[in-house]
C-alpha cells in the first residue's frame, strides 16, 4: 500500500508521455529543428506549473507529506563539469534516438522493439559510467 501513490504517479506520468507525444521520435526531431511550438510549449508550461506548485508548497509551510514529514526540496549535488558534459553526452544520444529515459520506459510498455534496444543500451551506458566514474571530471 505504501507504494501505491508512486505506482499511480508513475502511471500518470507514463500516460502523459504518450498522450503528449513527447515519446514520439518525430516530435523530438521537430523540436531540435524548431519546426513546431509543441515540445517547447510542453517544457515551458511544465516548468511554470512545477515552479508555481513548489512556491505554493513553500508558502504554505505547514503542509506535510503523506507520511506527515515536513516538505524539504532535495538539492542537486555540487559540481560543474559533470552537469555540462553529462548533459552533452545525453543530448547527443537524445538527438539520434529521439527518446529520453521517461519515454523509454513508457514505450517499453507499448512493446516497442526500438525502446527495448534503447533501454538495454542505457543500462550498458549506466554500467560504463559506474566503471569510469572516478576518472571523470565532476
Amino acid at each position: 500500500m505504501r507504494f501505491l501513490p508512486y505506482l499511480l504517479a508513475g502511471l500518470a506520468f507514463g500516460f502523459v508521455m504518450i498522450k503528449s507525444e513527447a515519446a514520439s521520435w518525430y516530435r523530438i526531431m521537430e523540436m531540435f529543428y524548431f519546426q513546431s511550438f509543441h515540445m517547447f510549449g510542453i517544457m515551458a508550461s511544465a516548468i511554470a506549473t512545477g515552479l508555481t506548485g513548489v512556491l505554493l508548497l513553500k508558502r504554505y509551510g505547514h503542509l506535510s507529506t503523506l507520511d506527515g514529514e515536513a516538505i524539504v526540496i532535495p538539492q542537486k549535488a555540487p559540481g560543474r563539469y559533470n552537469y555540462i558534459f553529462g548533459g552533452l553526452i545525453f543530448g547527443l544520444g537524445w538527438g539520434i534516438i529521439g527518446l529520453c529515459p521517461g519515454p523509454i520506459f513508457s514505450l517499453v510498455g507499448m512493446g516497442s522493439i526500438g525502446a527495448l534496444a534503447a533501454l538495454a543500451g542505457a543500462l550498458h551506458g549506466t554500467w560504463l559510467y559506474g566503471l569510469v566514474k572516478n576518472r571523470l571530471p565532476h
Binding site: 507504494f3 505506482l7 508513475g10 506520468f13 512545477g50 538527438g95 572516478n134
Partner: protein, 189 residues
C-alpha cells in the same frame, strides 16, 4: 469532445505540459521525493550486479529506492494504457516543415507514433537504438538526471546545476539531430 474521445486523442501542450509539471509538487507531497526517472537505470544495474563484481557506484542498498522502481513500473503501465489500450488511431500531427524534412530524409511518415525504420526489429535499427541508448544512459548518470530530473524538477526548483545540465542537453541534441541523424538514413537505409 466527450471523455472517451479525450482518452484516445493526443493532448495539446497546454494540457500535457502542466500535468508533467504537477509531478514535481506531487512527488514532494507523496514523500519528499525529487521527480525524475533515470536514477532507475542505476538501481537496475545495482540489482543485477553480481556480488563478485566490485563497482562502487552500484554498491548501495537499492531496496531503499523501491519507490522509484515502482514509479518506473507505473510509467511502463501508463505507456501500455496510453499507447495500446487508448491508442491514438491517427499519425502524429506534425508541422508541414517537419513532414517535408522527414520525406527529404527518406523516413516514411504517416504510419503512426514512431518511424518503423528505427523502431522495428532490424539489425541496423537495434544497433542504432542501442548505441544511442548507451549515450543516454552514460550521460544521464554523469549529469545525475535527465529531462525530468533536470529540465523539469531542477529548473522548477531553481537549481543552477540543472541550468548547466539543460544547456548541455540541448546543445548535444542540436548537434546530433543536425549533423548525425539525417546522415544515418542516407547511409544505412
Amino acid at each position: 469532445m466527450n471523455m472517451l474521445a479525450w482518452l484516445y486523442a493526443p493532448w495539446p501542450w497546454y494540457v500535457s505540459g502542466p500535468l508533467i509539471g504537477l509531478m514535481v509538487p506531487l512527488m514532494l507531497w507523496i514523500g519528499n521525493r525529487s521527480f525524475g526517472i533515470s536514477n532507475n537505470l542505476r538501481h537496475m544495474c545495482a540489482m543485477t550486479q553480481p556480488k563478485s563484481v566490485g563497482v562502487d557506484f552500484f554498491h548501495y542498498n537499492w531496496r531503499e529506492h523501491n519507490w522509484s522502481l515502482v514509479f518506473a513500473l507505473g510509467a511502463v503501465l501508463g505507456g501500455f494504457l496510453a499507447g495500446i489500450v487508448f491508442a491514438n488511431p491517427n499519425p502524429v500531427a506534425l508541422s508541414v516543415e517537419a513532414l517535408t524534412m522527414f520525406s527529404y530524409w527518406n523516413v516514411p511518415i504517416g504510419e503512426g507514433f514512431l518511424p518503423p525504420v528505427l523502431f522495428d526489429l532490424t539489425l541496423m535499427s537495434v544497433t542504432v537504438m542501442f548505441a544511442g541508448g548507451v549515450m543516454v544512459g552514460f550521460g544521464t548518470r554523469y549529469a545525475g538526471g535527465c529531462t525530468s530530473g533536470h529540465a523539469i524538477t531542477g529548473l522548477s526548483t531553481l537549481q543552477s546545476q540543472s541550468v548547466l545540465a539543460v544547456m548541455g542537453i540541448f546543445a548535444g541534441g542540436l548537434l546530433s539531430a543536425h549533423f548525425i541523424t539525417p546522415h544515418l538514413f542516407s547511409l544505412f537505409w
